[in-house]
């Protein structure tokens, strides 16, 4: 059985057009995304044409799904949710109590965010989201995860040394702040509501949304107030 499995994996790795052992890019070394091996490209092309020819897949649906996550669904969605929570405390309470319903109010939900939980950063608590076992991530509000989120360094270290991880990413939290790490081990997806920065009292909801970054909603960064030109 084990031999069969290994044999199969080997077959899967070499099937569909591959003739040599591919040069794989390592997960954690993929920072720049350069030097993408050509071999998987060939294997995927061959597999896709087989699936289309067999009628297993609609090629237009492939394009549509890609377009959805490249152009329609991304962290701008989550930023709008955070901005609304900042300006509307009743909305924030609904978001914290029942995230699915509150996100649906803004039209967000669905694939890989069927069941959502929002956690709030405060002066006393900082939240951080990870998936140690795979790559679970709240697609409807943040889009698809960045490479570092799926990488072994982040997955391994964020639960045992969250403060070290945050420091490495430029966020040095004082001892007075408790760090809560949320390991996404189920079909529940987490988003962090970052703290609203001081000096943003006059900004409207859309302007506030412009400040909210993807990383702040994963919990590896804070939201910064906008730089005011001509003033220190």
């Amino acid at each position: 059985m084990d031999g069969t499995r290994r044999g199969f994996l080997k077959a899967a790795l070499t099937a569909a057009g591959a003739t040599t052992t591919p040069l794989y890019a390592q997960d954690q070394g993929r920072g720049s995304g350069q030097a993408v091996p050509s071999d998987p490209a060939l294997r995927v092309k061959s597999l896709e044409s087989l699936l289309v020819e067999k009628g297993l897949v609609d090629p237009k649906a492939v394009d549509a799904l890609i377009d959805t996550y490249e152009h329609k669904i991304g962290p701008r969605n989550g930023a709008r949710v955070v901005a609304r929570a900042w300006v509307d405390s009743a909305y924030k309470q609904r978001l914290l109590a029942n995230a699915d319903a509150a996100l649906a109010e803004l039209g967000y939900g669905g694939l890989q965010g069927e069941h959502m939980v929002a956690v709030e950063n405060t002066p006393a608590v900082h939240n951080l989201v990870v998936c140690t076992l795979c790559s679970c991530y709240p697609w409807p509000v943040l889009g698809l995860p960045p490479v570092w989120y799926k990488s072994a360094p982040y997955r391994s270290r964020s639960v045992i040394d969250p403060r070290g991880v945050l420091r490495e990413l430029g966020l040095d939290l004082p001892a007075s702040v408790a760090v809560h790490v949320w390991d996404s081990t189920a079909e529940l997806r987490y988003m962090v509501i970052p703290e609203r920065p001081a000096g943003t009292e006059t900004l409207g909801e859309e302007q506030l949304a412009d400040l909210v970054t993807r990383d702040s909603m994963i919990g590896v960064a804070k939201v910064s107030a906008p730089q005011v030109r001509g003033r220190l």
Binding site: L9, A64, E70, H115, L133, P153, V179, L188
Partner: protein, 219 residues
């Protein structure tokens, strides 16, 4: 299974490498794999838990050697063959078998928006009694199954507190092996960081893990 995918708490993986202005996909083949994986899943021949498990079965050295979307490609390929949607001969030739009939894909382009908007909920509208209540002290069981489990190694045997009861959900540990959805209560369990990692952790820090009734026992 005690595989390398279960890496919470491991050392030696190196620094976290952020990428400025990272694209959603780094190559077109990654985008194709991403979409194909979802579309072949729509045949309903397997479930998300099985698709996670098949990637866990990639041998450890290979798991680290190949990239994220290559793992998807390997996993999807194996599921396609195991389910009978594609034969190994077809994979190798890249052509449908001569006697194979052309099928009609279940998830066509017109259905994509609704598929994305609805997703695939894992909650189940059935009445199952919760074994634990919010605020209760519990212990994660010391389970070491050779199959799929969503109970990470670092939490096993550790005491925690039920923080929230999310209701009834599919149990991945059986579902991944097509042994039934076994719906049961899913919780957020709070583990004090010091209970997991000892004195090196800050006393006020905590890790929250989603665990099911089967994973827990009273403390």
């Amino acid at each position: 299974m005690n595989g390398v995918h279960d890496m919470g708490g491991m050392h030696g993986m190196g620094p976290i490498q952020l990428e400025k202005n990272e694209p959603v996909f780094h190559a077109r083949w990654e985008a194709r794999v991403f979409a194909l994986n979802r579309l072949v899943g729509a045949w309903g021949k397997w479930n998300i838990d099985a698709s996670r498990h098949v990637k866990e079965l990639i041998p450890p050295a290979e798991y680290f050697r190949i990239s994220y979307y290559e793992k998807f490609l390997v996993g999807m390929t194996e599921l396609l063959v195991n389910s009978g949607l594609v034969t190994r001969a077809e994979l190798e030739s890249g052509k449908p078998a001569r006697d194979s009939k052309k099928m009609n894909p279940p998830l066509t382009v017109d259905k994509v928006p609704l598929f994305v908007a609805r997703g695939v909920p894992a909650s189940r509208d059935v009445t199952v009694e919760a074994k634990f209540r919010v605020g209760q002290r519990v212990r994660a069981r010391n389970l070491n199954p050779t199959g799929h489990t969503r109970l990470p190694r670092y939490a096993r045997g550790k005491p925690g507190t039920i923080e929230r009861d999310h209701g009834v959900f599919v149990f991945p540990d059986t579902n991944a092996h097509f042994l039934g959805e076994n719906p049961q209560h899913l919780y957020s369990v709070r583990f004090a960081a010091r209970d997991l990692w000892g004195d090196q952790a800050a006393p006020q820090d905590a890790v929250y893990v989603n665990l099911w009734d089967t994973h827990l026992e009273p403390a």
